[in-house]
Subunit: 177 residues, 2 copies
């Protein structure tokens, strides 16, 4: 699969996953893709914890309410440090978002499904902090996102998108439809 | 080139570009990659303007001081709208960062070089606003990043990166080196 095909076939999956063991080599390749993303001033503010141990996985999934990705056989937890790139400028959100996108693409390339789960765990009930506690994450890291990894057993649907010509144009905004 | 190879061979390029015309089909493919990125609650907060018209390109590059990507034969300008996903939650930074990473990968796949230029144009001197004015961008959009596109004529260098095992581990943060 070339990169363009991979980009075009990535979609968020919110259904059930096949019960299986994800090979460690696949998880390492997904982590490698994530850590290969660029970061503002090369500050490398993103770190990752892969969860494939059944007991840890169960503990983490159990603190997520309402349930999402409850049948995922593996997870990647995305950690972010608010390191200044220069003066008061911090590009940590940009950094982890690029890392997440790389991982989502590599997950697709390896034949798995996933979903960027951020808002659900970072809302006012701070599920992210409960997950961070289970994983002994130090307080200078924010757990900002989880990515389930596994084979989809339901249909993966494409979202409706605005027309290409309403979101892009050449040389001047007046050429936008 | 498969996706993993593409991810691993992407590097920020800050050198000079070959003087040439970038085919419109390539720019459209890069835009398509960008607009195919996920967005929080599918709000599609990211829009794109490709610049390949020589006169417009010159005007835009001339307002950037100190100079960066001054010889680029084409640019993609990234626009972002602060649309709420729900309540007071906005994922516009995440959205445009995922779109940028997709475009950087597609740029590599097509054989071009680029660099994520954000901090330099969004700093206190607000170069981004000068570029937005040239492109007649309405005030509800923030111009947040430019991506030069072209063939590199200098060496593309890899940055130093922290060890893989210091940024990732399995199942518990205590397994981080």
């Amino acid at each position: 699969m070339n990169t363009f095909e991979c980009i075009k076939s990535r979609n968020s999956y919110r259904g059930k996953y096949k019960d299986e063991i994800i090979p460690k080599a696949d998880l390492i390749k997904i982590i490698d893709a994530g850590l290969s993303a660029p970061s503002g001033c090369n500050k490398q503010t993103t770190s990752l914890i892969a969860i494939d141990d059944k007991e840890t996985l169960r503990k983490v999934l159990d603190v997520i309410e309402p349930k999402v990705c409850d049948t995922a056989p593996a997870l990647i937890c995305v950690l972010s440090e608010n390191i200044y790139a220069y003066r008061d400028k911090c590009y940590a959100i940009q950094d982890y978002s690029a890392a997440i996108e790389n991982m989502l693409l590599e997950i697709v390339e390896l034949g798995y499904a996933s979903c960027w789960i951020e808002g659900h765990i970072t809302d006012t009930d701070r599920i992210c902090d409960k997950i961070a506690k289970i994983l002994d994450v130090p307080s200078n890291y924010n757990l900002v996102c989880i990515l389930p990894i596994g084979h989809a057993i339901e249909e993966i649907k494409k979202p409706n998108k605005k027309d290409f010509n309403k979101r892009s144009c050449f040389n001047n905004f007046k050429n936008m439809e």
